[in-house]
């Protein structure tokens, strides 16, 4: 048996056969045909168009009964393929300029994609990706390569790839994919987010796995502990199968808790918040009471221009309307580090995570920041909105951020535009320095939310994206709980709200300790809500407080996990 280790990004256990997947790599050179060969080049193009159209008809047809929205994507691709102007330009490039068919297709389609990418409306700009998709299909056919996508897989396929593109994952055959394994990518990659949304077990960041596994080979993917097992023996197959059954039964049980109130056994009410990126994909209204983290990055990504004030105002308004009066915490643009923007080329930095990212970057690009702040302020009249700055390290940072808000307010007031003048301003606690100054910070802002992913990374000086430092990134270390405890206490003393919106809030075990440390606001992804509610409903406040004291007095991560396990064991006995 061979075991490969990676990062588990979407839980579950699955067995299946390896389906090696290589995305089409587009490579086109500037080539021309000899005089007299234009007609042959044109014929090649026309044949490719016919073949691509047939592919699209087939894919659209296969989705039509089960997923109309997906079918429509491919219908839209057919429209682009038949576009009068693009088609005319390609024909002219071939016949008049004697360009080779692939070169003509590549150049014309890329130009048109750029044209759409420049349209201020995000929905239209996003269609540029559709043109690029059609372009790649044409090139693939012209280069004589077979269609490869993940929309039609053999049953129980374990998709193994170097990396997956958004279009690969969006169209993946959900009925037949058993698990996903890739060489690159982490918990926050697009593939990971999609795998979690679809409930597909996934282990990412497995070095050289495409070389180590062969097509059709039987493997077990244990995405509960981040392992891929090749040539498993009978005993292993049986034990992992049991693990999978137990996991599924637990999830089934969890689901019953989604819409139940988050109340401890002895009646302490806890607020459960939702982390979101847009107004879509929200769970039932009864499952959460606030939106603790509205990530605004999505508005800026995968496009060639920055979103306008109007567009942002409209997007924020949609979220506020969807929230139906519940409080929404908008986090200002958090890019830099691992997140880059095509519309905003940034200088390369030696240490991007210690560099000009998030609030620092916004203060450097003041117009970009003021545009977002004005949009947030304008949207604030449509609901209960508060603004939160990411990557705050000092009181100076808080003051600079607040000064920018005041400037944005003055700009709007000057134009007679209405906004909420008392909009609460808060901070993310993710740099240890601001946690050390929590008392002072609490005096200068209205609320705080701990971002435990970055806090852990900065506290331990361990890059959370680097597989080599994974073991140094200790979420369950007593150091994490002690620093969080200090932050909670400081904000409680100042009588200001504090929440946690990082991964720890959505982890049922960590959540119990946080409850014991005094936290009453937990914000998380929708999928984490049931298990956290279930955990909170199964404990009394006294039990949680006893656990928290033991955790803070512990010396190692292992000791903390032991404390948590003994509480869980004790509760299991009394059931």
């Amino acid at each position: 048996m061979r075991i490969f280790k990676g990062q588990s990004v979407s839980p579950g256990v699955a067995a299946g056969r390896v389906y090696q997947y290589k995305a089409f790599v587009r490579s086109v050179y500037e080539t021309y045909v000899q005089p007299g060969e234009e007609q042959a080049a044109l014929a090649a193009y026309l044949e490719a168009v016919r073949a691509v159209d047939a592919e699209l008809v087939k894919i659209a047809g296969s989705f039509y009964s089960q997923d109309r929205d997906k079918a429509k994507i491919f219908e839209a691709h057919r429209e682009i393929l038949a576009d009068d102007e693009m088609d005319g330009d390609i024909r002219r490039a071939i016949l008049q300029d004697r360009q080779a068919a692939d070169f003509a297709v590549d150049r014309v389609c890329t130009e048109y994609a750029a044209l759409l990418g420049r349209v201020p409306d995000a929905n239209i700009a996003a269609r540029a990706a559709d043109i690029r998709d059609v372009r790649n299909r044409l090139l693939r056919v012209l280069h004589g390569e077979k269609e490869h996508n993940l929309s039609q897989l053999p049953d129980h396929s374990v998709v193994v790839a170097h990396d997956l593109l958004p279009s690969d994952t969006a169209t993946i055959d959900r009925g037949s994919v058993a698990a996903i394994v890739t060489e690159v990518g982490g918990a926050t990659s697009h593939s990971a987010i999609l795998a979690r949304a679809f409930g597909i077990p996934a282990v990412l960041g497995v070095p050289d796995v495409t070389k180590a596994l062969s097509d059709g080979e039987e493997v077990i993917v244990d995405a509960l502990c981040g392992e891929v097992l090749a040539e498993p023996d009978g005993e292993t197959v049986a034990s992992r199968r049991e693990k999978q059954a137990a996991y599924l039964a637990e999830r089934q049980e969890d689901r019953r808790y989604l819409t139940l109130p988050a109340v401890t056994k002895d009646g302490t009410t806890v607020e459960i918040g939702l982390n979101i990126g847009s107004e879509t994909g929200w769970p039932e209204d009864e499952s959460f009471t606030f939106v603790g983290l509205f990530r605004t990055e999505f508005l800026y990504m995968e496009r060639d221009t920055l979103p306008s004030e109007e567009e942002q105002t409209a997007a924020y308004r949609r979220v506020l309307e969807r929230a139906k009066g519940r409080q929404v915490t908008l986090r200002t643009l958090d890019v830099g580090g691992d997140k880059t923007l095509p519309a905003l080329p940034l200088p390369k930095e030696e240490n991007p995570f210690l560099g000009s990212r998030a609030l620092r970057l916004c203060l450097n690009y003041r117009d970009l920041f003021l545009t977002q702040l004005r949009a947030a302020l304008r949207a604030s009249v449509y609901g209960s909105l508060q603004i939160m700055f990411p990557m705050v390290g000092s009181l100076e940072d808080i003051r600079a951020g607040k000064a920018a808000v005041e400037e944005a307010k003055a700009q709007l007031a000057g134009k007679g535009v209405s906004f909420d003048p008392d909009i609460p301003i808060g901070i993310m606690v993710e740099i240890p320095s601001i946690a050390m100054l929590a008392d002072e910070a609490a005096k200068e802002c209205d609320f705080a939310s701990a971002g435990t992913n970055d806090l852990c990374q900065y506290l331990f000086a361990a890059d959370r994206m680097n597989p080599l430092t994974n073991e140094y990134y200790r979420t369950f270390s007593p150091a994490m709980f002690r620093i969080l405890s200090a932050v909670f206490d400081a904000f409680r003393r100042a009588n200001k709200p504090v929440s946690v919106c990082g991964e720890m809030a959505g982890n049922p075990e960590a959540a119990l300790v946080l409850l014991g440390l005094g936290l009453r606001k937990f914000s998380m992804n929708a999928s984490a809500i049931p298990a956290v509610k279930r955990a909170l409903r199964g404990i009394t406040l006294l039990e949680a407080e006893t656990l928290a004291s033991a955790v803070c007095a512990a010396d190692t991560e292992a000791a903390v996990l032991e404390c948590i396990r003994s509480v869980a064991a004790g509760r299991a006995e009394r059931r």
């Binding site: 429209e79 682009i80 576009d83 009068d84 409306d121 043109i131």
Partner: protein
Amino acid sequence: MTTVQTIVKNASGLHARPASDFVVKAKAFQSAVTIRDADRPAGTAVNAKSIVRLLSLGIVKGTRVEIAADGPDEREAVDALVALIDSGFGEA
């Protein structure tokens, strides 16, 4: 050449399905058909039979557009396209 102006009144403007419907209708005529954002003085006319060109105009609700057709069925083309826009594409 026949030219008529009208105002787009459906909520989503000439995006998504309405844009597709518009192009399909335009393609039904022999005449060359163009569309232009008449609210922009410098707005150039684009081929109304091209979905990509049409989308690139980014026409939202309330925009005044100018439709021009040139060819044997230019009158019918313009009438049909204006009627389609005025119908609101079946949107509220």
